[in-house]
Amino acid sequence: MTEPLITAHHLTLAAGCLTILNDVSLAIHPGEIVTLIGPNGSGKTTLLKALLGLVRVKGDITRRPGLKVGYVPQQFTPDPSLPMTVHRFLDLFAGHQAGWAALKRVGIADAHDRQLSALSGGEIARVLLARAVAGKPDLLVLDEPLAGVDVAGEAALYHLIAELRDELNCGILLVSHDLHVVMGKSDRVICLNHHICCEGDAHDVRRDPAFIELFGARGELALYPHHHDHAHSLAGETLHDH
């Protein structure tokens, strides 16, 4: 197997008498999509922040030397006091051409001249994804990236994320509540509730007693085979391809 992009050994974080992370170990390899699921307050975002170096925890985190990370946070509210267009925002991080190409790739090139603070939640989600991939990252970290995106757009965006993985050959670490859409695209699912309850491919995890205990009927529902009879493009028009 190739050298992992990032490896975490025995991460532990306690706040007072509360254990937020308990002996969590994981590794992410190039080209794989790892999805982190777990109930609210189970430590998903904290684990992500620890891996990104935003939160200090006990344990070891090893990054492949020169690892380039692209990050899409769970919440991002552009400050209206800062005048900044979408294109300038990408330019600032990835350069003019890469920024432009990424906007087109994510299907939000129309918004390039608009002010960031004037965008809707769904538009922001796409701009953030474009910004993250514009820098051609080795590891893409997405913390519930689709808040504010409608259901049809969601499926299209997850499809896009899987395509981007193939194009960039990057590893993707994804946190999501949207179990039913996510799991089909994931190579590996990690179920977190302060510690790792279970992990494996989507089908194995579904049968795991720890998963069923955590998600119960919701878990069953989440993995109910979900067949669309049509798909939506990112712009929202219907694509009839079957």
Partner: protein, 264 residues
Amino acid sequence: MIIDDFLWRAGLGAGLLAAACGPIGCFILWRRMAYVGESVAHMGLLGAAIGLLMGVNALVGTAALAIAAALIMTRASDRTIPAGTFVGIIGHMGLALGFIVLSLMDTVRTDLLGYLFGDVLALSNQDLIAIAAVGIVVLCATAVIWKPLLRSAAGGPIAAAEGRTSALAQTGFLILTAVLVAFGLKVVGALLIVALLIIPPAAARPLAKTPEAMALWAALLGAISAPLGLAASLAVDAPAGPCIVLAAGGLFALSSVYGLIAKR
């Protein structure tokens, strides 16, 4: 018409300082750090008092304590008290203690108001040269650290997570703020210096579509506030520092009205 030398010095000194405050002030606005600037200025008064007490000059004391306060306060993170409150506590302690120390010193007692609200008409030629030099250095330094600072301001946690923040730029920003506060003490005083850091950028916001345009407008509006304020101060025989701040406030009101009209 003869314009006295001290007026020239006051207009140039205050204008240059306010212009240098503009771009740095934009970051204070974007990063919502007005309260940090306020507390740094309050600590600056204590610095001036200590400087005078130790027989060095007030400016050195102000700059030293303001820089120390800026570096310490932004690193303070206590979860039980909001960061802004903590910074406010430290700043007000500095203000209170500084005022007490100054008022105990007989020689400066008469100048107390000058420390609080500035004494721009008393700028000497050396003061003016120092302010001009500092203004130019601050503007150049701001240009050098502009891009990393802008990345942090625009990206927030994203820039930090991707390792795209520069500790040097962050520290530089704080030091530049503290230096402006120290030199502003003479011009508009410890209580009003933050006004020169936040009002011109706020007035510049409706006029700008890019961060760079906003910084330039902020510098320009700051520079204009100085002669406007001085003229007003002469006309009604009012203290110069507060008049300069009011002039900046007037420009803010005008640009806000413009912003409202332009939006329609």
